[in-house]
Every structure is written in structure tokens, then in C-alpha cells.
Symmetry: C2
Amino acid sequence: MVQIAVLGYGTVGSGVVYLLDKNRDIISKRINDEIQVKYILTRREYNKDKYASKIIMNIDKIVEDKDIKIVAEVIGGVTDAYEYTKKLLKAGKNVVTANKELVATKGTELFKLARENNVKYLFEASVGGGIPIIHPMIQCLVSNKIDKIVGIMNGTTNYILTKMLKDNLSFEEALKNAQKLGYAESNPAADVEGIDTCRKISILSSLAYGRNVNPDLINVKGIDKITLEDVKVAENKGYVVKLVGYSKRVGEEKAEIIVTPCAIKKNHPLANVDDVYNAILVSGNATGEVMFYGKGAGQFPTASAVCSDIIECLDNKTNVEFVWSDEKIEIETPKLKCLDNINIPIID
Amino acid sequence: MVQIAVLGYGTVGSGVVYLLDKNRDIISKRINDEIQVKYILTRREYNKDKYASKIIMNIDKIVEDKDIKIVAEVIGGVTDAYEYTKKLLKAGKNVVTANKELVATKGTELFKLARENNVKYLFEASVGGGIPIIHPMIQCLVSNKIDKIVGIMNGTTNYILTKMLKDNLSFEEALKNAQKLGYAESNPAADVEGIDTCRKISILSSLAYGRNVNPDLINVKGIDKITLEDVKVAENKGYVVKLVGYSKRVGEEKAEIIVTPCAIKKNHPLANVDDVYNAILVSGNATGEVMFYGKGAGQFPTASAVCSDIIECLDNKTNVEFVWSDEKIEIETPKLKCLDNINIPIID
């Protein structure tokens, strides 16, 4: 019996608790053990909830409980989540997270803390939701030098761009439509301004180059200035417009990274990635281009990734020791050719 | 220092040896250790080879060497490879393989033998070449019930079908073209008759359902009877013809599995997978549809997968204990609707 705690009981947190129950038989058979949620940390009571008896409001109860070896942090943000994660790692608990902001900005420190305390800090759910991407990059592509990453990593903006093209909507109309369906938040800034994509390409770049890529150094342009006309002009030239995180190795200590709407040729593997789907193309010097495709967000896809990390913590050792260092890496904005008439760079 | 042996020195074997050298710095940094090839088992001398001093011709030297903890089997076939693998597992060596025939037909026995001897038998390279697929399925999708797998898993046939469509070639002409470029073997039967795809869908199905799916029970149709006219008729209806391995869970003890040329709608994620590329779509009950895309064969893509498994063996424990059992699973051929006028089933 493995006892765990879940921090946060929003969409992803409740998804994790539910999924561990729903697929209990399958999981127990595969790992030859059983996972039990002992605590759910929230900021308020949930009296009528099925899991009400597990709910607590004080992190120290988890920190001090020697039975808890693994904690899932799905609070988000970098205030409480950061403090709790440090406390837990120092107390010798493994922590798994869906928190891309925390991993992108404090990852270097938290990996170091995890190593010092002989535990893991895992983050499969921080990029690509339910798409396996972190683990395949760390483990399956371990013998590759990663030279380039190009990805559609934000479902909200991809839904908006798909709707603009297919239903002839303006950006504002498509955004409203996405909000109505719950695909965009009432304050959609982090998505439409490219901030979310920036955190994700920062994490993948750090992994690829083995050095921390500070998201603040990345030039970011969102889709809020993209017009229906831009989308249509691109289409007539055989391109689709997608919000892309782009990262290319330039020698050992430099990378060209940008977040920007891009024109992608219709026969490119990323061109047919529509609606809330994400896809990430990774180029390794042995394996060539590989692509990972699926739902980049949502309750159960993200919970699926969190649960796989929980299970990975059952291992007492990980074969890949190194995540990324705090050595400097120079970040430049790539000079990409733009499509004639509209100011949108082309991705080959 | 980790000392390993490589069995077989053909395309993949020499790729493994070369890749471990070429990317030595990257690999050593990531795993905080160094991998050294101590032996290469071949059937003849290679006097002038860079690695001539490592070449041996007697498996027992490896079996008896206590320094060797990990062996890569890239011989292929089920005669020597099978006997050697058993000997090595019994001697307490971890074995990693690219041998889909051996995994599909003898996997159940070899996993059991590995467990009994407290070592691993890993097979990432057996499906999808350099595309991470086995590991993501076992580990990243561990908390999912896998309901369906559809994939283009053979580069040779996909190249032939792509050429037929794009260059208006007959099957025979496209095959000759593929042979000239080294994409098809002089005896192309295992590829064009669908046998290779059958082994791969058998492995993925066994993983998905946790029970050994015997490849002999799968109904297999290759592309050797596909005409240029079939391909063109499908195109005019908005479909492309692809050789597909298809597997669908039907309850706990039954699955519908087939290998067949299929008509795939042009906006389907698999439709744009051309030339020697492979792509595998996996549906999990939490993560939804995820797709893995890349080069499904070739020296370095396959070597990349073999090397990732070698590195996984450095772990003394794996968090996922269960691969598949020898419990019976009933295999049926799915009843798929065919495209009008041509006898090719449609995949949605």
C-alpha cells in the first residue's frame, strides 16, 4: 500500500483522485501494489464530497506524516506551491507536479533540493497535458543530442485559430466561443498572449540543452493581434497559422528560442493539429524527427500524466540522474523569414 | 563504468556501438556514468574494423563474464537470438532487444524468465524504431485503460503506398524503387505481406490488454494485391490507402485485431504520415487519443531505442512490474465497412 497526498482539489486535483479510483484494478495489477490517497489539501471544507474525510487544510500534517512518500502538487502558481514543494522535498517526500510556471521558473532549485534529499521532483503533466513528452525526452531519447523542438503547446489558442479559419470568425468571436465551451478562461491572457507556451518551451529547451532556459529571456508574441485576414491570406498561400514554441540549438551554449504565431505549410506534420490538440516535434541526432500528439490539457489527460509520475516515484532510483544545470545558456531570437504581405514568420 | 555486450553487428548492432561512442559525452552527463562496449558477438572476424578487438564468436564468454550486466540482442530471428536470450537471462544479465519476432512469439516466456532472475527484458526498439512507444505505453499511460490502437508501423510499405499515390506507380514499380533505395529488402515478403506489422500490433495489443496476443491468431492482409487504381479511387473519395495494424478492446477477454490496407480520411491524424515514417495512435480512457510519430526503422533511430533500454537497465528496479500474462485472450477480426467499389476497409 502506497499512501499519497494531493495538494489542490480543482479540476486536475479531483481528476487525479477520481482516476486513481476508477482505474484502480488496472493500476494495481501493473505495479503490483495499491495507491491510496490519504490527504487532499484544500483551502476550504468539502463536507458533502465523497472524499471529504481525506480533506485537510494544513500542509504540515502531510510534511510530518512519515507514511506519505509521494505528494502530487496541482495547486498552480508560484506562491504556496513553491513553499509547499520546498518543505516537502526537504522532508524527504517525492513531489510530482503539473505546475509549468513553477518548473519553468524554480525548476533548477527544486531539482537540486530533490537530489540533496534523495527524492524525485517529476513534471510530466507540466507540458502537453496527457501527451507523454517529458518522460520520452528524458528517457527514450536519452542517447540523442536534441537539436530542435517545435510545438503547438496550448490548446486554447489552437482552438481559437482553428475556429477563425474554419468558421470565418474574428479573434474576438472565436475567443468568446472558446470561453463559452470552457476552453478559455475568463481572463485568457496567459494563453492568448503566449505566456503559457513560453513556460512550456522553456521547460523543453532546458531539458534538451541541459541548462536552465529562463522563460523571461524568451521573445513572446501571442495571437491577440492575429486577424481573420492574416489567417485567410496564409491559407491562400498554402499555410495555416499556429501559435508555436520554437527552440533550436546553436552550438553548446546558445539557443534560438521564440514563441510566435507561425505560418506552417499544409503538408507539415504540425499543420493538421487542430482544435484543442497539441503536438510537439522533437529532433534528435540519432532518432530524427519524432512527434508527440494528443490533448494538451483537460482534467483526465492531465491527471493521467500526474498519475504516471506518482507511479514513477515508486522506483527507488532513476536511471537518468541529470535534469538540467544552472549553467548559463545564451538565448537569441531566431531570424525567421516572414510570409509575403503579412508579418507572420514561416516554420519549415 | 557499465560494461555491456552487443549481440549482432549488422545495421542496428553497428549503429548501437557507433551511437554510444558518438554521443558519449551527452549520455555520460545524463546518467552520471559511462557505458563501455566490452564484447560484440558476430559470426565472423572483422579484422580491419575500429572495434575489431571487441569481437568474439562465442556467446559463453559473455554469459560467464560477471562484469557484463547488460546485453543488447540485435541478431533478429528466433533461433540463436532465442537461445542466447534464455542463457543470458538465466545468468542474471539484463537483455534489451530490437527483435519483434522474438518478443511477439516468445515474450511471455522471456518476461517470466527475466522476473525469475530479477533482471529486465526490454524491447523499446521492437516497435516504431526510434519512436518512443513501448516505454510511453508502459510508463506514461500506466494509469489508463487502453481501448484501441491504430498504427502505420511499417516504413517499407508506407513508402511504397506513398510512391504509388504521388508518382502514379504500380505496386511492382514502387517496390523496385524502394529496393533500389534500400527501403525494401530483396525478399520483401515480411514487409509487404503484413507479417512485420502483425508482430508489432501483437506486441502493442499484448501490452494494452495485459495478455499475450499470439500473432498467429491475427488475420493479416498485405499490400501486394493493392493496385494503382485502388489508390486512385480512394483518393477521389477523399481517402488515402495505408497498411494499418488495428486493435480494439472488446470487454476484458476479447479483442478485435487485424492487419490490412485501409482507407483513411484525409483529415485523420494518420493520413499525412508519408514515406518511411510511422505513426501509432493509442486511445486511453483518461488521456484520450495520443499519437507517436517518427522514423519507424533505420540504423540510428533503432539504435537510439536500443540505447535508451540499455540505460533503463541501470535502474535496479522498475516501477511497472507487470508486462503481460499468458492468460487467454480471444482474438476476432473486426467487421469494418469497406469503401464503395473497392474492397478496402475504412478506418475512422
